[in-house]
């Protein structure tokens, strides 16, 4: 059987070798890979990073980050902030055209803000305009925005993308509008086609007011992440948004590929549901932490750093005085005994019931399977039975986010550069699925939110790190090395640390 299979394999192999090679044309597109294709190309309905990235090529905001990450006018030309900091007048560029040839005007700005605010639109991005009180058109290229409260740097918050009013009716932008089949923006690239292979083609917008050097861009969906690095190495794609940690060394050694750090503020954790009886006992939480050997869990999945709290090690809020705990079986055993458990048949048992927990994770979290299987073995060897559960995204959102129905979850959080953990750890936080509650932490997080002095904010959050770490609502695991990879054919690459394509109009292919 094996010989036959080998023969067949070799036969197939020889067959592939004689196939013609794909020819490379001079106007080759920039082909980049995403795990999942953008579902919708409309910035006010964006839900995923893949959508945020493609929006960056097609649409523009009033303001945008320059290459030094300072806010600069994009569709705006200049602005005047009122003395009382309660309103601003924005003068718009007059040389901007939409991809369908219409002129960009202040009506587009008004429409976008109103549509995002409009409940009927059900925008996923509505939070971005909550601070705006009203928007008024003052002239074809002048618009006034008033705020609910004083704003000292409103341009920082006016980076959301602007939509063409002429393609919508009234102040509602519905998902089903024909816009979704043919999105129109003002950016350097214009939508070309949705292709049958799930890819999306964009081409250069000839009337772009600025310069754009890429002729074509193609987004390719590669749902199997194991292929992504190989595709890049083979030259089948030119950019890989996020490299799996285990592929880093291979790609670094590849002379056709260059790596760029991208989205580095992410950390993994095991989170307890604090309402489960076993997790209510701090001794049990602490004991479990001492049973987990994070180093050997991390090793098979890539390189990174172990953490002691809810920030990555390089964060300004990370408290370096809190050390990462090391596995310690005897100490863990003492804590379990203090919690009223006894070892019966090598199982930690209380009131006749052996301790058994279910660890739940998301199916599409890379390498989660490896982590969870190793973790299961580690805990089993120390007297705890672990069941595992893998949820798809919808089930995860419903059961974990919605109902907090779990014992322990294995998951990961990614943060933008503000590294705001309020929603995760404040007792009223919308992402505090484990129902963690500590009034002291609440106070610290409130203080940090309102702090305007950097040092005060830092010391407050460093204290929050320490306090949270002492409570063990999670076993903080690690941060993985995170890089994008681009072919050396792509030149003049500068990557935005969060949105990736912000400066892609300067890139070019050679």
């Amino acid at each position: 059987m094996f010989t036959k299979l080998t023969q067949r394999t070799l036969f197939l192999f020889s067959l592939f070798m004689i196939l013609p090679k794909t020819t490379s044309a001079s106007s080759q597109p920039l082909r980049y890979a995403e795990d999942r294709a953008p579902a919708i190309i409309n910035p006010i309905f964006a839900t995923s990073m893949s959508e945020a990235r493609i929006n960056e090529l097609i649409f523009e905001g009033l303001f945008s980050d320059d290459q030094e990450l300072r806010v600069q006018p994009q569709l705006a030309q200049r602005f005047v902030l009122a003395q009382d900091k309660l309103s601003m007048v924005i003068h718009l560029r007059k040389d901007v055209k939409w991809h369908d040839g219409y002129d960009f005007t202040s009506e587009d700005v008004r429409f976008t803000i109103e549509a995002m605010r409009n409940k009927k639109t059900a925008s996923t991005e509505s939070g971005r305009v909550q601070w705006i009180k009203a928007v008024m058109v003052q002239g074809p290229h002048t618009v006034t925005i008033t705020f609910n409260d004083q704003e000292f740097a409103p341009s920082e918050r006016l980076q959301f993308k602007i939509l063409p009013a002429h393609l919508f009716r009234g102040d509602v932008a519905s998902r089903t509008n024909k816009f979704r089949n043919h999105p129109v923006g003002t950016g350097p690239m214009m939508f070309d086609s949705y292709n049958t292979d799930n890819s999306i083609s964009l081409r250069k917008f000839p009337d772009y007011y600025g310069s754009a050097r890429l002729e074509k861009v193609v987004m390719r969906e590669v749902s199997d992440k194991n292929y992504q690095a190989k595709l890049l190495a083979y030259g089948s794609i030119d950019a890989l948004v996020r490299v799996m940690p285990r592929d880093l060394s291979v790609l670094q050694a590849n002379r056709n590929v260059e790596l760029y750090p991208y989205q580095t503020n992410s950390w993994w954790y095991l989170g307890y549901n604090m309402q489960r009886s076993f997790a209510k006992d701090p001794n049990v939480r602490a004991a479990l932490e001492l049973m987990v050997d994070r180093h050997s869990l991390l090793k098979p999945i890539g390189t990174g750093e172990l953490l002691s709290g809810p920030f990555v090690r390089s964060s300004p809020y990370y408290n370096h005085n809190v050390s990462t705990s090391r596995p310690n079986q005897s100490l863990a055993a003492n804590l379990m005994q203090e919690a009223g458990y006894a070892l019966v048949n090598n199982k930690w048992t209380k009131d006749g019931e052996p301790l058994s927990v279910t660890i739940t994770t998301q199916r599409d979290l890379d390498a989660a399977l490896e982590v969870i299987v190793n973790l299961q073995t580690q805990l089993f060897n120390q007297g705890i039975t672990v069941h595992t559960q893998f949820y798809d995204k919808a089930e995860w959102r419903a059961k974990i986010w919605g109902q907090s129905d779990f014992d322990i979850i294995l998951s990961m959080w990614s943060f933008d550069r503000t590294e705001d953990i309020y929603e995760q750890f404040h007792s009223t936080g919308s992402r505090n699925f484990g129902n963690y509650e500590n009034p002291k932490v609440d106070t610290l997080l409130d203080q940090a939110t309102s702090a305007r002095d950097p040092q005060e904010k830092r010391s407050t959050l460093q204290l929050a790190h320490k306090t949270i770490a002492a409570d063990d609502p999670m076993i903080f695991l690690w941060t993985l090395d995170s890089y994008s990879a681009l072919s050396t054919k792509v030149n003049n690459v500068v990557i935005h640390p969060f949105y990736f394509f912000t400066w892609a109009n300067a890139w070019y292919l050679q």
Binding site: A153, N256, Y317, L365, D416, T418, Y422, R458, N492
Partner: protein
């Protein structure tokens, strides 16, 4: 991976005959030459000049490793001074705390660049100014030779520097230390300038030179100690440094790096024809080509930073660092992290700059104050932004 087709289109010559190839061809000479100061050489190879200094013989006239360690320390603190200046400039640039014409802004920038102390001290008006100038006075004393080096080092390593008054954090600390180490270098080698001091070095082992000996003609052409090795005659002869200057664009810098990398690959690929297995194994085990490549790129990165070619600097520094190797060791020097941090700040990537500096925090506790100041800068820049978090 050496046989991989490269993205670099032009033909590239292999690397000039360097000490790496010389070593591969005759490993016994290498073994003999390091025998006398073995642990100091190991420390130099591991990019640990502090340790190399303690392990070397007591006087520079007897010890190549000692001179080399002094040179490395001077350059390390020069890089730290550069970084310190970038942080200081970043803070003032991004916050616009005060008017640029204000004497305090000027004072801070001057301090970052470590010049004009005398004026600053005499112009001190407020208590804040005096706090700042107290430390500057100490540095001036150090530079003038009226403060004992030990006192200064104690000052540098003291955690009090940061905690006693965060606002009074001294941006000039590292420049003063650089000056201290460079004075020490001249003192110990009994020379009048760094070129002369460098010419006393007997072995270029583990250094930036792409030659088997340190070439005097290059020393005379190089402006500063920090730029040594960036664009040597040997590299120029091979077409690997034809411009002798820092390219203006990121793309040109990248092209230059690709050519250099390819030439190193070619040299590496030619080793089996020249060296026996012992020599080849030695080169591979000690990652000598990687180390050499990094040193050349870092030298270019610092030159680019000093020439205000920040994008090129970022490209050099990013390409220099080995992302697989954590912390300082044979594959990454502390300079690599420091320069990458400085280049990122110069390009406005302050948050990512912290990613670059954090790995050496434990091994170099004296950068704590610098790191904290960078942290403040990051927080300050984002204080008006609203946060976003995502799963996966």
């Amino acid at each position: 991976m050496t046989a991989c087709n490269t993205g670099v289109q032009q033909d590239v010559a292999s690397l000039p005959y360097s000490w790496v190839t010389a070593l591969a061809e005759d490993p016994t000479v290498f073994k003999d030459s390091i025998e006398a100061e073995r642990s100091a050489w190991i420390a130099l190879h591991s990019n640990d000049p502090h340790k190399a200094l303690t392990k070397s013989k007591a006087t520079a006239s007897q010890s190549t490793t000692r001179v080399r360690a002094l040179v490395d320390l001077t350059v390390l603190f020069d890089d730290l001074a550069l970084l310190s200046g970038q942080i200081q400039k970043g803070t003032f640039r991004d916050t616009m705390l005060v008017d640029e014409q204000d004497h305090r802004t000027q004072a801070a920038i001057a301090a970052a660049e470590c010049h004009g102390f005398t004026d600053l001290i005499s112009n001190a008006k407020s208590t804040e100014d005096i706090k700042l100038t107290t430390r500057l006075k100490a540095h001036q004393a150090l530079i003038d030779g009226t403060l004992a080096p030990q006192e200064h080092l104690a000052l540098g390593e003291s955690p009090l520097l940061y905690t006693e008054s965060k606002r009074g954090y001294d941006p000039c600390l590292f420049a003063a230390q650089r000056d201290f180490w460079s004075s020490q270098l001249l003192l110990e080698t009994n020379t009048d300038g760094w070129r002369e001091a460098l010419s006393t070095i007997k072995s270029p082992l583990f250094s930036v030179w792409t030659t088997a000996h340190i070439p005097p003609e290059d020393l005379s052409k190089t402006d500063t100690l920090a730029a040594v090795g960036a664009f040597t005659t040997a590299l120029k002869d091979q077409g690997l440094a034809e411009k002798q200057r820092i390219p203006e664009t990121n793309t040109d810098a990248r092209e230059q790096i690709r050519a250099l990398t390819k030439s190193i690959d070619l040299e590496k690929a030619s080793l089996p024809e020249r060296a026996d297995t012992t020599g080849q194994a030695l080169v591979a085990e000690l990652s000598l080509f990687q180390g050499l490549r990094q040193k050349i790129l870092l030298s270019r990165a610092r030159s680019a930073l000093k020439a205000n070619q920040f994008q090129a600097a970022l490209t050099y520094a990013s390409e220099a660092i080995d992302i697989g190797a954590k912390g300082v060791g044979p594959l990454n020097s502390a300079n690599a992290f420091v320069l990458l941090t400085a280049a990122r700040i110069a390009n406005g990537r302050t948050r990512e700059a912290m990613d670059a500096l954090q790995p050496i925090l434990n091994s170099h506790p004296y950068i704590q104050g610098l790191y904290e100041q960078l942290g403040d800068l990051v927080v300050r820049e984002n204080i008006n932004r609203t946060g976003e978090s995502k799963e996966n």
